[in-house]
Amino acid sequence: MQASFAHALLDPELPSVDEHGRFNVYRNNLRITLRNALRTTFPAVEKLVGEDYFSALALLYVERHPPRSPIMTEYGHDFAAFLSTFSPLSDYPYLTDVARIELARVQAYHAADTDNFRIDSEASAIAALDIPAMLHPSVTVVVSENPALSIWRSQLEPDAAPPIPDATETAIIWRQDNLVTEMLAHADDQLLLQHFAQSQTFAALISEYPDDPSAETLIARFINLAIAGIIVPTHTTIEGEMK
């Protein structure tokens, strides 16, 4: 019974399994609650495509990618990939990156805790260079061929500057002081973000890249990202709580 019930829930073309059409209450409820979950996670995508278009898009996604977990804040994990392969939207490639930013914000909110570097003196800054470090569990880096972060901001922040056409942007999304935050990565951050995707010391990076960008620039950027809580010391992560 549950197999046929489950099958019919996801396929709006199938007739109601009961003669009174009451089964449709379950089918509609499923579709509406899941569409609303996507609406909550992807408000900027909804504004960009419009409410009606988003609703249709979300219902299609629900049919093709029903949830695999009871935790609704995780729903929509594949929405960005779905948008990138949805041919009617192929002229709007930035939508995929805006969706990735929005998913990253939800993930950052729920990600594990870990202690930050305490950098309050030159000595503590120098000491940090030799401590194994990694990206905070809340960090997602969205590399976009479009001004994706500016587009996202333009939809949700009334005072945001308009996106610069043809610009490319790399966005860092993470949690700082328990608030989800996003910023544009500095041109030289890319190297650091890649390096600290695994636990490593800063010194290991310097030994590999002595010239360009300069060690001084990299140190300055490292300190910056460490103070922001984007790069954190590895040893303080709470075991078993990492996402």
């Binding site: 019974m1 549950q2 197999a3 019930f5 489950a6 829930l9 996801l10 109601s16 399994v17 009961d18 003669e19 009174h20 059409g21 009451r22 089964f23 449709n24 209450v25 379950y26 409820n29 499923l30 609650t33 899941l34 979950a37 029903p66 949830p67 695999r68 977990s69 009871p70 935790i71 609704m72 804040t73 729903y75 950052a108 909110y109 729920h110 990600a111 594990a112 805790d113 870990t114 569990p137 809340s138 949690r175 328990n178 608030l179 709470i238 709580e241 990492m242 996402k243």
Partner: protein, 298 residues
Amino acid sequence: MSGVHPTLSAPIPPTGPGRLPPGVGIGLKRAHCEALLADPSLVDFVEIHAENFMSAGGPNLILLDRIAEAWPLSIHGVGLSIGGKERLDREHLQRLRRLIDRSSPASFSEHLAWSSHDGVYFNDLLPVVYDTPTLNRVIANINEAQDFLGVRMLLENPSTYVAFSASSWHEAEFLQQIAQSTGCGLLLDVNNLYVSCHNHDWSAQDWLSHIALDLVGEVHVAGHEAIQDAEGQTLLIDSHGDPVGEPVFELLEHVISRGGIRPVLVERDNDIPPLSELLRETDQVRQILERAACTAVL
């Protein structure tokens, strides 16, 4: 506004967790958190949905800790799929265990329903067939959940829109048998009872006569809406998006006068109104409990 005086309350149900205070609680919504935390005495306990607090870290767990500090907490699961054909999801049980260990709730409850099949989660409480194989499966699942979580849970009666011809058990007897076999208590959702009675032409009095009310460790009230089905019949939907209806308050009063004072929760999950509106509903529940307390003294 304090709770109903404990000495006037019914005895703690022997089989449920039964540690929620016999007063009025509210389903906690984010929009109301800060206002309620500023004056926790507005309600006697709160209930949260387990799946909303399964974060690995961050502000959500800080909020959870503040809530658990401020009130006796009821953790209400919606995703365990206790009536499912498949084995319980171990990963989900582990997440529940972490949540329960962290916040030491006064009560943990789940639903007589299924929500997962073949790896897909349907985000709804779907109806089960009331037959003996299902009964045995639900009993095994509840035993497993209670052993794993280290708590005795409450099982909530569902609101349903379809009934299965394969069902051979009365819903209330089905619940009663599950409680007797597993030692779990019952969460009596009076709105669900009202909705199902209307939709299937059952009698609520008859339904209630099939369960031992001392198994009830918590009561829910909520709103419902009416639609027309394909044959023009009125179908009640457990929408949780409307104020509690007067017939539901009347049924609550009947249950309390028969079974004694219980922890009663006002649930609202959609179209969340201002807190003041929900507090008018908790006041109405409080009046019902106080009337029952007075009657008990007389």
